[in-house]
Symmetry: C2
Subunit: 112 residues, 2 copies
């Protein structure tokens, strides 16, 4: 495991909760948690309403907490949820976020 | 519901995760979550290794996030976990914290 991605045994609930306390970062993880196909995504694809610099900071925070893995193919980059690692250490956490994501989506759709 | 305790429908996952990101506050909630008898406790009984002022701040943060309820009997005060409210809005969250609490306790007990 490279130094920027914590090992599964080193995942810290405090760091993870701190990462998830921010609404933009939580939206990213909730969206990933809700998609069981665990696709590879680009940071851009989430359309966070923040500057590129802030977006970079958010994704760096998510990676450092161990919630996502960076994928670097040289000519392109991506991220992926570390679902198996998170489920192994903190069972129920991703389900909780996915459920909250569905709730928020439903609320948005039923707004007049 | 008085103004210092958010109503169940107003519980906000961001505020709750922010409250739980601090290790002292998380320890309080994990300890409460692990005790299914949901006893009334005093703030003092958790023995947080912080000043009285800091302890007051932590318990105020927990109350404002909706995780605990303050009980004031005039001659004595207490707190209690809002288990039913939290379970209703964020099922699995308290179980997650209780599990992490057991894990931490076991690790502390098996240390040489």
């Amino acid at each position: 495991m490279d130094s920027t991605h914590p090992a599964t045994a080193d995942l810290d609930l405090g760091s993870i909760l701190q990462a998830l306390a921010d609404p933009h970062r939580r939206r990213v993880i909730a969206e990933l948690a809700a998609d069981r196909s665990d696709p590879e995504r680009t940071c851009h694809s989430f359309g966070l309403p923040v500057s590129k610099q802030t977006s970079t900071y958010h994704f760096k925070t998510l990676r450092a907490s161990g919630l996502i893995r960076d994928l670097n193919y040289g000519n392109r980059k991506g991220i992926r949820l570390r679902r198996a690692d998170i489920d192994a250490r903190f069972p129920g956490l991703l389900d909780l976020l996915a459920a909250e994501h569905s709730r928020t989506q439903q609320r948005a759709e039923t707004k007049p």
